[in-house]
């Protein structure tokens, strides 16, 4: 598995898209610094971009990478190696290369503007951790969808729909439910609902760390009130890990029984 991972990672890191993705974060973060200056302000602005963009790019890369390497996967399948190791290796190579792009693109400007030795370092770390989690989660979901669907267009459409659902539609439904049932106590529902959306959960996690109640929103406030900041973070991180594990297990299951 590590061998497949290594070569997938090298292949992907040299692709044009990886360069573009890294360059985008580099330029965007630099221009944020140039415009606003303060480390904490940049972290908050960047948070909103990472929460939407990291899942989108991971979704698109995941589907594209699977379909593009289909023929090569067949060659790998003919080699003396377990089927599950091939696809888990490819997935991990993809998720790691996305994370590396994010780390480089965002990390370099922050290092330049003196994040090391600043009290903001832990908030910045949380931002990176969340970005990496989202890359792992959404590339796993995309890879799983691509494995399930032979038809490229169907696979691509479905994956984008999943992203759209978590990034946009979910919040809409959630707000609608809140306003419809505003007479009832909704705290538990709110906590539960945010656990089922990795993007919401990531937002709550960063805001808990930043401790900005004005931006925390309903779920953030509820989680802080009921669980407190530190246990809330531990629970959120655990649930995010489950969000990585679940689709990864799905990839493993499909890889073991699929016909190629």
């Amino acid at each position: 598995m590590l061998k497949i991972l290594k070569y997938s990672f090298f292949d992907l890191m040299r692709s044009r898209w990886a360069y573009i993705y890294t360059a985008f974060f580099l330029l965007f973060t630099l221009s944020l610094f140039w415009l606003s200056g303060g480390l904490s302000k940049v972290i908050i602005s960047l948070m909103n971009v990472i929460l939407v963009l990291a899942p989108l790019i991971a979704t698109m890369f995941g589907v594209m990478y699977y379909y593009n390497s289909r023929e090569f996967s067949e060659l790998l399948l003919s080699q003396p190696i377990r089927r599950t190791h091939i696809f888990l290796g490819q997935y991990l190579g993809l998720a790691l290369s996305l994370s590396a792009s994010l780390l480089l693109g965002v990390g370099l400007p922050f290092a330049l503007y003196g994040i090391f030795g600043s009290p903001e370092i832990w908030n910045f770390m949380m931002l990176l951790v969340v970005g990496i989690f989202l890359s792992f989660i959404f590339s796993a979901i995309a890879f799983f969808i691509a494995l399930r669907n032979e038809n490229r267009i169907k696979g691509f459409g479905l994956a984008i729909l999943v992203w759209l659902f978590f990034a946009v539609i979910y919040d809409g439904i959630f707000l609608l439910a809140l306003s419809l049932f505003s007479d009832y106590p909704l705290e538990n529902l709110a906590i539960g609902a945010s656990m089922f959306n990795p993007i919401d959960l990531s937002r709550v996690l960063i805001l808990l760390k930043l401790d900005i109640s004005a931006l925390m929103g309903y779920t953030g406030a509820v989680i802080q009130k009921f669980l407190g900041a530190a246990p809330g973070m531990v629970v959120s991180l655990a649930v995010l890990s489950a969000w990585v594990l679940l689709p990864a297990l799905g990839i493993r299951r499909l890889a073991a029984r699929k016909d190629f």
Binding site: L75, L77, S78, P80
Partner: protein
């Protein structure tokens, strides 16, 4: 070496293989023929463990291959479509395969020379032409000395020089006592190379035997025509579905 017993496979409603039994016991070159969609590739993929049969059993050197992967160490495979990761170099791809198999290839240097790939070793695979990629494909398939070679459309996209070298290579491997299975649509290639022909039609084995016996059975001097005869026979007698029987009956009637 490979025994296939009553193999069934369907994709959804489409029945691709319905009861294929084959035995590749002796070494030699076997050509697997049949029109598009007759189940050639599915048969090959089943042997390699890429497709999982619905029913039936495949044994490699006496052992059931279901759920196993280590037997593939003894098979070399040439995929039909030569597509590799675009951003890896040729040399890196070859390294990767060696890395996965965990053994040194026996014939790598010679093959690179034979197909003139020396100048391309540092090039990225995405920048190579289709023919050059097929040569890389051939090198990766032939670089180990495994007892079984499975080739899916080996001639596609090759220039005449490379084709001659490929044929020489196949004869060389056969002389070493290997088992070679090849699917192809090129009848010249079959007539020249194959010791035995397996003709698949609608997921069943329609004919198995030497090229000469196929010609004799269908009373044609030309392999292409003999094949056409089988296909036309199938259309004419599709009610009972066994044109071979039908052809035999027709012949005895004439006599």
């Amino acid at each position: 070496m490979i025994t296939i017993d009553n193999l069934h496979k369907s994709f959804g409603k489409l029945q691709v293989l319905s009861g294929v039994s084959l035995d590749f016991g002796r070494p030699g070159i076997y050509a697997i023929l049949g029109p598009n969609g007759s189940g050639k590739t599915t048969l090959i993929k089943s042997i390699l463990g890429m497709s999982i049969p619905d029913k039936g059993q495949i044994r490699f050197q006496g052992e059931d291959i279901r759920g196993r992967w280590d037997y593939r160490r003894q098979i070399d495979y040439l995929p039909q479509i030569a597509r590799f990761p675009d951003n890896l170099r040729v040399s890196e791809l070859l390294d990767m395969i060696q890395d996965i198999r965990g053994e040194k290839p026996q014939a790598l240097g010679r093959l690179i020379e034979m197909f003139g790939l020396q100048p391309f070793l540092d090039k990225r695979l995405g920048n190579l032409s289709g023919g050059t990629r097929q040569k890389v494909n051939l090198v990766q398939a032939f670089m180990y000395d495994s007892p079984v070679l499975i080739l899916d459309e080996p001639t596609s996209g090759l220039d005449p020089v490379a084709l001659i070298r490929l044929k020489a290579l196949l004869l060389e491997e056969k002389a070493k006592g290997k088992l070679l299975l090849a699917t192809t649509h090129i009848m010249n290639f079959v007539e020249e190379m194959a010791d035995e022909v397996v003709f698949l039609l609608e997921g069943r084995i329609h004919f198995r035997g030497s090229v000469d016996s196929l010609k004799r059975e269908y009373r044609e001097n030309n392999l292409e025509r003999a094949i056409a005869r089988i296909l036309q026979g199938e259309q004419g007698f599709s009610a009972n579905g066994h044109s071979q029987e039908a052809a035999r009956m027709a012949r005895s009637y004439e006599l």
